[in-house]
Structure formats: C-alpha cells, structure tokens
C-alpha cells in the first residue's frame, strides 16, 4: 500500500476514534442527565390509592393536592387544587403559595381546612413522599390532618386521603 493511501485511511480512522471517544462521553452524560427525569415522583401506594378514588368519588371531584398529586388524580379524571398547565390559570402563583404555606405547611388544622374550602376541595391528598406544591419540596406534616375536627381519614395504605369536613 502506498504512503498516501495509508495516510488517508489512518487519518480517517483517527478522526473517527477522536469523535467516538468524545461521543461516548457525551452519550454517557446525556443518559445520566435524562435518568432523573424518569423518576415518577409519585409513590406506589399513591398510585394504588387511585383504585379507591375511582370507586368512591365522582369525576371532577377536587382534591387538595400538590402538583404531582394533582396531576396523578387527573389521570383518572379527578382534579387537584394544583397541577397541570398554569398558562391561563387566574391567580395561579397565589394558589401555589396557599397550597405550599397555608395548607401543607399550615400552622394549624383550621388554617389548612380554610384553604381546602377556598379551592372547593372535598378531600385532602396526603402522600407518603416529599411534596412539591410549587415553591419547595417538603415532607408531610401529618399533625395537620390527624385527630382533627376538620379532616376525617377515609383511606390509608401509607398514602392517606382525608375527607374535608363541611
């Protein structure tokens, strides 16, 4: 084989090798960046609770929820106080603030109850996972809902559903 032929093949192989090396790194990085987006966020108990929801509530029943809970409820044609497309929702940031700080992080059961009533929620959606009502991820404070004159537990498999008393 002549020198120029050998050099042509070698140079193309070298270009392929360099590109393949960096392409492999980029692909690994892309897969690693994409993996967290596969996290369903919702818990297995929460998904199982949808069976109770379908059996015991009417379509479009509103649940006081965080964003991911509300969107899970939509999948069975119920509604959350949060979740979905916020593009044209009136006072949407106020709603997020209410659900974050005055419902799930309320100082009292009564404060949470008033927020549930404000948004016409019939039930409270209280998952066994971290909550995201719009501003920050937070753990569940069960003290707001348990042994309260304002809420009545109607489902518990780890994930809990409370009826909002009228």
């Amino acid at each position: 084989m002549r020198f120029d032929e050998l050099a042509r093949i070698a140079s193309v192989v070298a270009i392929f090798a360099v590109v393949a090396y960096f392409a492999n790194q980029d692909l690994e990085s892309a897969l690693n960046q994409a993996k967290p987006w596969m996290n369903p966020v919702v818990s297995q108990n929460e998904v199982a609770a949808l069976g109770w929801v379908k059996a015991n509530t009417a379509e479009r029943t509103i649940f006081a929820s965080d964003i991911f809970g509300g969107e899970l409820l939509m999948s069975v044609l119920r509604e959350g106080t949060e979740g979905g497309d916020w593009a044209i929702v009136p006072n949407v940031v106020q709603r997020m603030h209410d659900m974050q700080y005055d419902f799930y992080e309320a100082n009292s059961s009564e404060q949470a109850w008033r927020i549930a009533l404000k948004y016409n929620a019939e039930y409270a959606w209280v998952p066994d996972r971290a909550l995201f009502p719009g501003f920050a991820w937070k753990g569940v404070n069960y003290a707001i809902f348990d042994n309260s004159p304002y809420f009545e537990k109607v489902f518990d498999n780890g994930h809990r559903i409370y009826k909002v008393k009228k």
């Binding site: 990085s29 960046q33 994409a34 998904v47």
Partner: protein, 357 residues
Amino acid sequence: MIDLNGDKRWIYALLIIAIAASVYSHSMVWKEFYYPTFGNTNLHVAFAQHILTHGEYPIQNDYSYGGGIPTLYVPGYRLLLAGTALIAGNMDFAVRLLVMLFAVLLPVGFFLFTRELFGDVTGVAAAFFASLPAELLIYTVRPLPQALGLALLPFAFYAIAADKRKAAFALTIAIALIHQETIAFLAAGAFAFAFLQALSDFARTRKLALPQGAAWTALLCWALALFVYVGWHFVATGNANVFDIAQFKNHEGNIVEFNLFLEKNGMVLTIGSLLGLVALATRSITNPREKELLLLALALVGIAFIKNDLVGVRVFMDRFIVFLQVPLVVLTAYAFTGICDYALHFDWNSILPRRSS
C-alpha cells in the same frame, strides 16, 4: 473499500444502527413502575382519558389547577395518545409506546433533512449525532407533546428544504396543533429562511422580490403556522393575545450561559456545530445555496431564542436549547463529513520530505 455514496445498502444499514442507538437510549422509559411525570405528562393523559370516556374534547374545562378554565393547550398529541391507548388497550403502555415512536422518528427525520442538504453520508452521520445531546434526549424520552413536535420538526424542515409543499403544509399544521414552542421555532426559522433568501436574491439582482421555491414554501408555512395557532388560541380563549400567559408574565426559564450550553449539547455537538457553522457561513457569504440558507437561518433563530434575555424577553431561554439542537446536529454532521472528506482527499505525499536528486 466501502463505497457509501454508491451503495445505498450501507447507508440504510447504518441508519438502522442509528435507530437502534436511539431506541436504546430512549428505552429507559420502561424502567420505572410508572411512566415519567415531570412536565405535566398526566395532564395529557387526562385529556386522552376524557376523549376515550366521553367522546369529546373538553376545550372549555381544563383539568388543571382545579378545572373550570378553557384549555389553552393544542390537542394533537392528546388525540394521538387517545387513539394509541384505544388500540393498545392500556394507557400506561400507550404512553411509553409513543416514546418508542419518537425514538424511531428522530434519527429518520435527521437523516432525511440532512441528506436533502448534504447527501447520504452526512445524513447518516446526523442520524447518529441525534442520539448525543442530553437536552434532545431529556425532551423526547418523556411522553410529552414537545417530544412529538421535536420528532416531527426535522421532517418539516426536510419538506421545506425539498420544496415538498403539501408535506410541508401538513407537517406545519400538525406541529401547530401539537406543541406551541415547537411551532414558534418552526415559524421563526421558516420566516428567517425566506428573509435570508430574499436578501441573497436582492444582493444578486438588486431587485426586491418575493422569494421563490423552497423559500416561498417556507414563507407560506410561516403564515400557515400563525393562522392555525392563533386560530386555536382564539377558539380556546376568545382572544388572540398569545402572549397573555403565565409563562410570559412570570418569565419562566433560565439564562443560558456557556457551561449550561456545553452540558446540554456535549463536546461533540458544541465543537462540531461551531466548525460547521463557520464553514457554512463562510461559504454562504461567497456562494449562498438556498437549502444551506435554511440551516443557517435555523441556527441563527435558535441562538436568538436561547439568548432572548438580551432583548428583554426573558422567557424559556434554556428551554429553547433543544430546538437549537436541530440545526446543531446537522451542522455537526456537516463538519464531521467535511473533515473526513478533507483527510481522504489531502495530498499526504506533500508532507513527506522531498528526496534530494
């Protein structure tokens, strides 16, 4: 030696490998007990379920944030999901199956678009490079309208570049009814292409005239995109102010700086597309070719979209990186095959020391 340009079987064999690579990277969608929920995936499931349950599209009563508001979102993806779930018999399976569809469409679309501009070999290189950028994977591995829009976008640009007017119109209408940001990119790219072509014609003839051929098709696609999307917005909300949405009021999105750009594009796409862009821009100044102006227009529009904070818009900057990746993948393939071609045709004997006589 393998003749890639002469024997199409090699091209199609490589394309199948590129499709397999894309399916592999997207297969992560099957790994969890429940499909991905980031990005409102269940809102679209809700509409699909509603269509299947009630046989209607609830345009005046969205499921979002307690319901009772009109739905702004365009219905294309939701109708496709409802149809897929009806056939598959299971919503969870249908949702993940659509992600596999996107995985197959992406390399095929990039192949067709790039082949139309630069030939078979560059086309197949683009089909491979389409699997590399993180943002393109992140936005197509989740069951979202944006994923379908992104999967169709290279087909639409192919139809425009090839001046296949009916296909270009059909894809423009489809994308306008699938995803808002995707149609915004398509419309802006199509308009910029028509503008660059008109500018190029003016520089050559010194006469102002409407563009011809593919650029005219692009201009019609721009008008069609505006008409269809604004029409939908009017039907849904009763007004035509498409900017009166929370995302604009609250300036949703993050500023794109170089580190973020590199993280989302990777080394190959960042360097490759830069080389491709410089080579293409240089060639386009001295000898502009219509189809290459389309690519240049898409790159310029993509850059303008991700840096819209510089002109005070400050909306969706980082979310437009994925649209910029459409021209970047093509430019990287162009640079890669250009460098290989240069190496293959370089006179390597010229670097040898001359023999003394």
